[in-house]
């Protein structure tokens, strides 16, 4: 199977600071792949290395099946990295025309189609310096889409968008993958958005890969049970280190099949149980627990 991106021991250091350790990652084609991590995790460094903006300190990668990363390969990739990168004196239409010339891309009417797709037709002749953050984000996305990329790299694409814009972005991302066959690597801090739109995710922390897999697999079978009980101190003692006090009860991070045994143990230990409620773990829970465990390991 050809992958959109395969990294082998890929790493980057700035002096004594390691931005990314030896990263082994394979991103299959034809899906939305999320790259998650707290600030400083190495996400932007990874994406900048893939785009040839930063030279790796070690390891290598294969992009769209190619190891020789030059402009010919990179022209098959569209990217929007960090804040939108626009010329303030260019209009939206001119920004796309400039991008087309730079890419050596010609297709009649493509600029208009892209402007319509990102919802900027009415602002096509306004200069970028007059744009709101959301409009800048849309224009940068349009520039990334212009040359019909096989791979789209989006770093925080919903920054500055209103709720309707976020919904449109989510729809657009899924359309690009499901209808146009584009592969998307998406980095975001909005984990509920990632959970809704991504097929597979990698979680980075301190420059290391700490979790990777299908979103459904990462969140399934894991969760927490909330038990309204008294006395709480006794309940915490019986439930062990995975439990913490929450409101008028305790919250315990366990597998779903362990729940009946826990409730029986609490009753047998003299704890009055008033309510037990199961909550599936979200991607945010996975992210927080993974990064916390990794942070504890690192420190």
């Amino acid at each position: 199977m050809t992958h959109a991106l395969e990294t082998t021991g890929l790493g980057k250091s700035y002096g004594a600071v390691t931005a990314l350790s030896a990263l082994d990652l394979s991103i299959p084609k034809g899906m939305v792949y999320g790259v998650l991590g707290p600030n400083g995790a190495g996400k932007s460094t990874l994406l900048r290395m893939v785009l040839g903006l930063v030279t790796p300190s070690r390891g290598g990668f294969r992009l769209l099946g190619e190891t020789n990363i030059n402009a010919t390969v990179l022209r098959r990739v569209g990217a929007m990295i960090e804040a939108p990168s626009l010329y303030p004196f260019l209009t939206a239409r001119d920004m796309l025309r400039m991008a087309a010339r730079m890419s050596g891309f010609r297709e009649a009417g493509r600029e208009e189609a892209v402007l319509a797709r990102v919802g900027l037709t009415d602002a096509a002749d306004r200069k970028a310096r007059t744009f709101s953050m959301g409009m800048r984000q849309r224009l940068a996305l349009g520039a990334a889409l212009l040359a019909r990329p096989e791979l789209l790299i989006l770093d925080e694409p919903t920054n500055g968008l209103d709720p309707a814009g976020i919904q449109e972005m989510r729809t657009l991302v899924r359309e690009l993958v499901d209808q146009d066959g584009v592969t998307i690597i998406l980095s975001s801090h909005l984990l509920d958005e990632v959970e809704k739109v991504c097929d597979r995710v990698a979680i980075l922390n301190h420059g290391k890969l700490i979790a990777e897999g299908r979103v459904a697999d990462l969140v399934s079978g894991r969760g927490a049970i909330f038990i309204a009980a008294t006395p709480i101190a006794k309940a915490l003692a019986i439930a062990g280190p995975r439990a913490r006090a929450q409101g008028d009860g305790i919250r315990v991070d366990i597998a779903r099949e362990e729940a009946p045994a826990l409730i029986r143990a609490l009753s047998a230990g003299g704890v009055d149980v008033f309510e037990a409620r199961w909550a599936n773990q979200s991607l945010e829970d996975v992210f927080l627990s993974s990064t916390a465990a990794s942070g504890a390991g690192a420190s």
Partner: protein, 269 residues
């Protein structure tokens, strides 16, 4: 790929009209207007200094005005917009995945050469028009026979000097990653060279003077004057070494910029 990058850069500069005018258009316009005012004033208060005008000689002088320090300041600003603008607007990440690093730098240098050439020619044409105005006032005009080689020499000298300035800005822009530094550092160097030049005279004919761009430029300009029939041209023998020196300086600075840019990590612009 250089051609595609050049087309994109040309489009971008053309759309950045305000900067384009101040960097490359203002001085020719200023030269034209100042020349017309000067001719009118001289005519009104002094009368005809010469019984005839020589518009082509005016045009040649116009080509030479681009070698003045004032003109160089505007050229520095123009070059800084071209070479350091991407750092200022944080746009390298938008264009580098679309083109090759060497190609984009060469394209920018070629675009600077084009803009500088147009600016030099516009200065020459502007002063030529002033010469025609003078001829209209005096009612007499003169022209050197077969002036083209002289004019071409003057144009070439001016272009070489501006290209050296552009390459200096290019190198500073890449090394500093700053628009401000790309303007200020070459200005300081320009002033330092001017101050150094005050202590020496081209009439001495010392060969090492050809290494200084203002002497080299002046020598080429003088050799153009000689070709236009001016017998009192000075420092002409420094013209060829000066041209070689300016080409070498330009090449070295451009190569430094391109090599540094090739190795530059753009973790942030």
């Amino acid at each position: 790929m250089i051609g595609q990058a050049f087309r994109a850069e040309l489009f971008k500069l053309w759309r950045n009209r305000w900067s384009l005018f101040w960097a490359f258009g203002f001085m020719p316009v200023f030269g034209l207007v100042a020349g017309l005012i000067e001719e009118t004033s001289v005519r009104a208060y002094v009368g005809d200094l010469l019984p005839y005008a020589n518009p082509l000689r005016y045009g040649y002088a116009g080509l030479g005005t681009t070698q003045s320090s004032l003109f160089q300041v505007f050229a520095i600003v123009g070059a800084a917009i071209l070479f350091a603008g991407e750092y200022r607007w944080e746009t390298w990440r938008a264009i580098l995945p679309r083109t090759d690093r060497t190609a984009i730098m060469i394209a920018k240098l070629l675009l600077f050469a084009l803009a500088a050439s147009v600016s030099i020619l516009a200065s020459g044409v502007g002063r030529f028009l002033v010469g025609l105005y003078d001829a209209m006032l005096t009612g007499q005009a003169d022209a050197p026979s077969d002036p083209w080689l002289g004019l071409l020499t003057g144009f070439g000298g001016a272009l070489l000097q501006l290209m050296l300035t552009g390459a200096l800005v290019m190198a500073v822009a890449v090394l500093s990653r700053s628009l401000m530094a790309a303007i200020v550092a070459p200005l300081v160097i320009l002033v330092a060279i001017d101050l150094t030049a005050i202590r020496f005279r081209i009439e001495t004919g010392e060969l090492w003077l050809a290494a200084l761009p203002n002497f080299a430029g002046r020598a080429i300009h003088e050799s153009g004057l000689l070709l236009l029939g001016e017998p009192d041209a000075i420092g002409v023998h420094l013209a060829i070494p000066g041209a070689i020196a300016m080409m070498l300086w330009t090449a070295v600075l451009a190569i430094v910029a391109i090599v540094a840019f090739q190795r530059q990590d753009l973790s942030r612009e």
